[in-house]
Each structure stands twice: as structure tokens, then as C-alpha cells.
Subunit: 204 residues, 2 copies
């Protein structure tokens, strides 16, 4: 009797009880972990439940399907980004310093939260946003940048400069995340700061 | 006898004979088509064969596996991008005009070739490049930008400006492709030109 079937053992012992909010958090955390280790293709409600150590049916208490789970993560990502940009803005002494700090904070957010960052810009999840809170968070993040730019440049240039600054930080973040800078740049973090400083010098 | 099984009929009649080079081209074209219509997740050698209308074994004459097929596409994408940037450079009268034209050409390339563009920046395919020709094409594309920037700014700023310009065009292209500009910008093509013009005005 040594041959015991243990295939489902890990699942059985891991079926922890969560409070309602805690389960939701645990599922989102497990999804992030899956995206970081295996890519978004590995995300299914079943696999997320397994990673979180809960029963296969548990995710359905919070998310009707995979898209709802990923959308919740994208919304949370935009909230975190809006917070990071707001914090950068509040610490700066002048509008130009604020713009520089926002550009740096954007790139740092992407580097520190690659799974969030990639999910946030998947058009099928956020174009249009599937929830009012997600749309609000996306607009809030963009507004921090837009309002700061408005303090730095003449009214006629606001829109074009805001989109240019966003493009710059977004592009730098993705080139870095995708490994394009590795063999071209000795210290991508330092260069990121030089790029932000260069830009704000130019618009002064 | 009205119930005829036609499930494999399309496959059977579509098994066209290709010359060696033409088969490779047809497979690459079918892969691009698949990526554009169903996303990269839909790409398998079997599905590519079906789309190209050739036998399931035909792709193996050219590509040992899915990664080899996608890598060939990424390499081809970098060659096309290098050509587009070179053409933009050659048409311009001054270095600053050339830089502006290169930024516009980069964004236009991404818009006109979204499947190529997404494949080219998948790190598992091109970091590092899996073939010498792919690496050469990637460097050639970057060199067009880098050399033009070198004609526009002091030596000490070349590296940072080149990466900043690349980030700007790359970010704009991806924000546009991912639908982020749709509700914020009335005419993304026109704004793209304004962004490029703004930047080159600033570095004059």
C-alpha cells in the first residue's frame, strides 16, 4: 500500500478559508505572480486558484471570467500609477521639476510593476475601460501629467507636449522592459533620469 | 446521401505546390495574417500551414519550430524598418528634417505593419537576436536614427538624445496601436507629425 495517489493532495490541504476581501486580494496577487513567472497566456481562473491555494470554484465568487480578473488588475494598476505620479508631483518644488519627477516615476512604476504595466495597456481590457473605476483611474493618471504640462508650456502646446511626454516615458519603459536597451545602454536607470532632465531643460 | 463530410475539403483542394522561396514567403505572409486577425497566440506551424493552404508538414521545410518562424518574421520586420528609416533620411534636406522624417517614418511603419512591429519587440525572439541577419537589421535601423541624431546635437548628448527620440516614436506608436489615443486625440496621424516637429524644433 505504498502507492498513494497524492495528485490532489496539495490542492486539498491548501484550501484555505479567506474573508471575502482577502480572497479577492489573494486572487489578484496570484494572477500577478503567474503573469510575472509564466506570462499572461498562463492565466486561467483554474490556474489562478491553484496558485492562490484555493478551490477551483473560489475565483468565481469575485470574477465571472478571466477577462474580469485581468480587467480588475488593469484598473488596480491605473490606480497605483495615478498614486505614484501624484506623489511625484507633490514632492516637486516647481512645475518643471514636477514634470521631470513624473516622467521618472512613470518609468519606475513600469520597471517595478511589469505585470501590472503590461496588463494596463492591453486594448481588449481597457479600450474602452470595462468599469467606471478603471476609466476614472486611467483619466486620473493622465490628468496628473496633463495638468503639470499645462503649468509648463503655452496653452497652444499643451496637448501635443502632454502626449509627447507620455510617449517618451511609455516608450522608454517598454524598450527597457523588452530588453532593447540592455546592449546599448550601460545604466538604463541613470539614462532614464538623463532623458527626463533633458526634456525638461528643453521646455523651460 | 446528402450528408457529405466536407470538413477537410478546403484543406485538400488548397494544397498548392510552391517553389522553395515562394513557400517560405507564403508561410511568413500567412503568419502575419494570423497575428493580425487572431493574435500571436493563434500562431502554430499547423495553423500557419492551414492559413497558407499547404500541407501540415510543409512549414518544416523552412522552420524547425514556431519560434524560428516568428524570429524570421521579426528579422524581416527590422529589415523593412531599416529600409523605411533610410528612405526617410535620404529624402530630407537637413539633419533636423531627417530626424523629423525618421520619427514620422517609425510611427508610420508601426501603424502600417502592426503584426511585424509587435513581433519585433518580443524579447524572447530578438533579445538577443537569434540570427546574425536579424541582429544586423536591428543595428542598421538604430544606426539610421543614431547617425542622424549625431548630426543634430553635441557629442556629449548624442546617446541620450538618440534613446529619447527612439522612446518617443516607440511610445507614440504603441499608445496609438493600443487604442490609448483614440478618445484623447482627434487625429493621431496629424498629432504624430506635430510631436516630431515639436521635438526637432526644440533641438535646433
Amino acid at each position: 500500500m505504498r502507492a498513494v495517489d497524492v495528485r490532489n493532495y496539495a490542492l486539498v490541504v491548501a484550501r484555505t478559508n479567506y474573508h471575502h476581501g482577502a480572497l479577492r486580494e489573494a486572487l489578484l496577487k496570484a494572477t500577478l505572480e503567474l503573469i510575472e513567472t509564466e506570462g499572461i497566456g498562463a492565466v486561467s481562473l483554474r490556474q489562478v486558484a491553484r496558485t492562490a491555494g484555493v478551490s477551483p470554484g473560489a475565483p468565481y465568487h469575485h470574477f465571472p471570467d478571466r477577462a474580469a480578473l485581468l480587467t480588475a488588475l488593469a484598473d488596480e494598476g491605473f490606480r497605483l500609477l495615478a498614486d505614484a505620479l501624484t506623489e511625484a508631483h507633490e514632492k516637486a518644488a516647481t512645475p518643471t521639476e514636477a514634470l521631470e519627477a513624473i516622467l521618472n516615476a512613470y518609468v519606475e512604476f513600469a520597471r517595478e510593476n511589469p505585470a501590472y504595466f503590461r496588463i494596463m495597456f492591453r486594448p481588449e481590457l481597457t479600450q474602452p475601460h470595462k468599469s467606471p473605476t478603471g476609466a476614472e483611474a486611467g483619466e486620473a493618471a493622465f490628468a496628473v501629467l496633463g495638468n503639470t504640462v499645462a503649468e509648463c508650456v503655452p496653452a497652444a502646446e499643451r496637448d501635443v507636449v502632454a502626449i509627447a511626454m507620455w510617449s517618451l516615458a511609455h516608450g522608454y519603459a517598454l524598450l527597457w522592459l523588452d530588453g532593447q536597451l540592455d546592449h546599448r545602454v550601460a545604466d538604463p536607470a541613470a539614462l532614464s533620469h538623463r532623458v527626463a532632465a533633458l526634456v525638461t531643460t528643453l521646455i523651460k
